[in-house]
């Protein structure tokens, strides 16, 4: 029979483990950014599926360390040596960014948690500081780490954002470590972004679907 003392002991062991409370207190301020960084990594994996090696770069030098933004920012900002990745497929240059702001078709700016954009436009926006236009966006993802109760409004907001990003976007998706029954229905129509729920290392099948989708879209658009 399980006793209260067994239960208390099990809770203590969980909380006092090196990945328990101490680790939580250390990384809690950046948990949502860590999830975006994870999705950024999956994009690198998608590129590698095409036998292309992405190159990690920094806005002002070699990214050692590779710095992820803590809040949405401008692609040309040199406040820190923010990291991004570049790759070339069939002579076409692309970049992967996290937390960069774009100019929507309405001229309103939008933050994309993780995105793939045309390299030429990214270079131009760094050379002559500006927000990239919606036409430069190839793929964009909203990334939400939650421990429970994914708010429905996040889905609605992302649909509105993508609607303002024009017609060049090849791929868009809402990623979360959780699932949500009603949002699944909301993203069901063909023209809405894809849903990538339960996208977590605990679910490698969903990771593979995400990665293969990126590889497939890049292959198609570059004729690789």
């Amino acid at each position: 029979m399980a006793t209260l003392s067994d239960l208390e002991n099990a809770i203590d062991v969980l909380l006092n483990h090196p990945l328990g409370i101490n680790q939580y207190q250390l990384v809690q301020p950046v948990e949502s950014k860590a999830y975006e960084a994870y999705v950024f990594g999956l994009c690198l994996r998608g590129v590698r599926e095409l036998n292309v090696t992405p190159v990690l770069r920094g806005i002002s030098g070699t990214p050692t360390p590779f710095v992820f933004r803590g809040a949405p920012g401008q692609i040309h900002s040199q406040s820190k040596n923010y990291g991004y990745a570049t790759f070339t497929i069939h002579g076409q240059d692309f970049e992967i960014h996290a937390g960069v702001e774009f100019k929507g078709a309405s001229e309103m700016t939008h933050e994309l948690d993780v995105c793939i954009m045309r390299g030429k436009d990214a270079v131009q926006c760094r050379d002559q500081p500006d927000d990239p236009s919606s036409a430069s966006l190839v793929a964009g993802w909203e990334c939400k780490f939650y421990d429970s109760n994914l708010p429905k409004g996040l889905g609605r907001a992302f649909v509105g954002l993508i609607d303002d990003m024009g017609t060049n976007v090849r791929l868009s998706g809402f990623c979360s470590n959780l699932s949500h029954q009603q949002l699944k229905l909301y993203f069901k129509p063909q023209r809405r972004p894809d849903r990538h729920f339960d996208l977590t290392p605990l679910n490698p099948r969903n990771e593979n679907i995400f990665v293969n989708q990126i590889a497939g879209a890049l292959k198609k658009m570059t004729g690789a």
């Binding site: 969980l14 990384v27 809690q28 990214p63 992820f68």
Partner: protein, 180 residues
Amino acid sequence: MKHEYNPQEALDLLIRKLNDADQQLAAHVRAAVNAGTDVQEIQQPRGRDANKPRSYRRTVPYSPEQALQVAVDALRAHFVEQPMFINSLLDDMVPASLGPGTTSSPSLAGNDKPIHIKTEGTEKAIEIELYTETQLVGELGVTSREPELQPMARVSAEEIRLQQSNLNRLRDLVDFREGL
């Protein structure tokens, strides 16, 4: 498994221990537990439509048994998934190479100053910004010397496996389904 405690007592103990350990985490778990869940209710109409039952959605509180599983899932997100995100990112960065900062087209990368060490296949250092570029006042006040970046280090797979096993142990202890 038989228990000498009931689900409500188990939930109270878990929330109390979380509150003692970290009030912010306890608040997250309380919010998860208090959000309730949607159920489909079936209504049997009277009169002419009596043989056409209709269903509708209703939000109800979790039972203490369900709430315990929701709480354990929330803890799994913080204690197991988070370190796995960083390990996954580090794994995905290993095959990538490091390039110099660039203002030119990557396909013209020959013009860039080359990196003379082989960086493909090596672990990369990652940091996440804590103190953002527009932030004037930090948690401790504008004059404090707060760290601007949080290094994110790899966690051993064995530690993650152990923590997952600790979580499974807790999940078993708060599982009140018959026959377990």
